[in-house]
């Protein structure tokens, strides 16, 4: 696949630089646990390389069920935006991951100091939430609706 555009490209250069200044590079080996369902959502990531699986706990000692995977160029984590600031899903690195990590407290402080940046960022993350909600609905409809099914 070709190099995707950055999901932060929507920000003007100055604001992008301001945001990047609070971020730092991180890497995770394949299999590393990035966060667990219910844990404190105090950061988010911009994925640069590798794949991350979003999963959910399944009772009865079963392995976590993978709901979705995210890859390079995508934003990981939106639960830091709104109460109760707890992760709705868990996340595990499927392959080695390189990412830029952003602490929520720093980003929220930036947003408070620069409402334009805050507004733009919130719009971007609202888009992420909307995309994932819609994708979930489509999968549910495709998988479980009585009329589900492909062409002959």
């Amino acid at each position: 696949m070709s190099e995707p555009s950055s999901p932060l490209d929507f920000l003007p250069l100055v604001q992008r630089a301001r945001l990047r200044a609070v971020g730092f590079d991180v890497s995770f080996p394949a299999g590393a646990r990035l966060f667990d369902e219910g844990g404190e959502a105090d950061r988010f990531w911009l994925l640069r390389r590798g794949e991350v699986a979003l999963d959910i706990c399944v009772p009865g000692g079963q392995p976590e069920a993978v709901m979705e995977t995210l890859g390079a160029g995508q934003l990981l984590g939106w639960s830091w935006i709104c109460p109760p600031y707890r992760w709705h899903l868990g996340a595990r690195a499927v392959t080695a991951v390189q990412a830029m990590e952003f602490p929520a407290t720093d980003v929220l402080a930036l947003c408070a100091a620069d409402p334009e940046l805050g507004y733009a960022l919130m719009r971007r993350f609202t888009g992420v939430v909307a995309e994932r909600l819609q994708a979930t609905r489509i999968r549910l409809l495709d998988l479980y609706a009585p009329h589900a099914g492909g062409p002959p």
Binding site: M67, G150, P152
Partner: protein
């Protein structure tokens, strides 16, 4: 072909298991031959004594030079076709339908997006584009299936990775699956889409095609740059019986491939 014709006998030259319930049949004429098919066109396959169903051509030339159709056993007729063995005979009418407009994609990037067995009618497109790299730009192949076991043409997909940008995602991963999970449109994030010079060809469940088309349009692709392959209840395949009507369209004749600009509104009309 627009007139009713009797089915011509074709012999099963070879069968190939794709998944637990899906099989590809290579068919060679047992006598008179049908006119050539184009990618995206379909034939009416007649299981003698049982019935007839429309099946898109999934390769124009199989190993024996015959037409290839990929059949998923979901009903009495498709199950009978699925059970055919080499040497047995099937009735064939066609070619029917519009096929993919590959002329419109000349000089452009081609983005093939398939859901499940929707990859079957798109496989001849992949063959055509790979055969003529001088005519087309980049080729993206994005495939979504319900489970890893539902993925058809695994060998082809691995071979295509050398010459195209290929992504595969599943709804429900099983043990040993280390690839993407989620709707097929999530694979678009890794494809550097050039909206002003890309044609997207989409086939799969209707809800998947609508979601995909809307996502593509949200990323700047004009509706006329998106082609979808629509299926309705095709019976006569000649535009006479009306079973496959979608508003002003009779999909066996005016489809199955249509520009999304023609059907976007129709697909949102409740009564159609």
């Amino acid at each position: 072909m627009s007139t009713v014709t009797p089915p011509l006998p074709y012999r099963v030259a070879e069968t190939r298991a794709e998944t637990a319930d899906t099989r590809s049949l290579e068919l060679v004429p047992a006598g008179r031959e049908l006119p050539p098919f184009s990618p995206g066109q379909f034939a009416m396959l007649y299981a003698f004594g049982i019935g007839e169903v429309p099946i898109s051509v999934s390769a124009l030339h199989g190993p024996h030079g015959g037409l290839v159709h990929t059949v998923r056993a979901v009903g009495a007729v498709s199950a009978a076709l699925y059970d055919l063995r080499p040497g047995e005979t099937v009735g064939l009418r066609g070619p029917f339908g519009t096929g993919w407009d590959l002329d419109a994609a000349a000089g452009q990037d081609v983005l093939v997006i398939a859901g499940g067995i929707g990859l079957a009618p798109l496989r001849p497109v992949v063959h055509a584009v790979l055969d003529r790299p001088d005519i087309y730009g980049r080729l993206g192949i994005l495939v979504g299936t319900r489970t890893p076991g539902d993925l058809i043409y695994r060998g082809d997909i691995e071979r295509w990775r050398d010459r195209a940008e290929v992504g595969v995602t599943v709804d429900r991963p099983g043990p040993g699956w280390h690839g993407s999970v989620g709707v097929v449109t999530t694979l678009l994030d890794a494809f550097a889409l050039r909206p002003d010079r890309t044609h997207a060809l989409v086939c799969g469940p209707e809800v998947m095609m609508r979601h995909t088309a809307r996502t593509l349009m949200g990323r700047g692709l004009a509706a006329h740059r998106v082609q979808v392959s629509l299926e309705r209840n095709m019976r006569c395949a000649t535009g006479h019986c009306g079973h496959c009507q979608l508003g002003p369209l009779l999909l066996c004749r005016d489809g199955p491939v249509v520009g999304y600009d023609r059907v976007e509104r129709l697909l949102a009309v409740r009564e159609l």
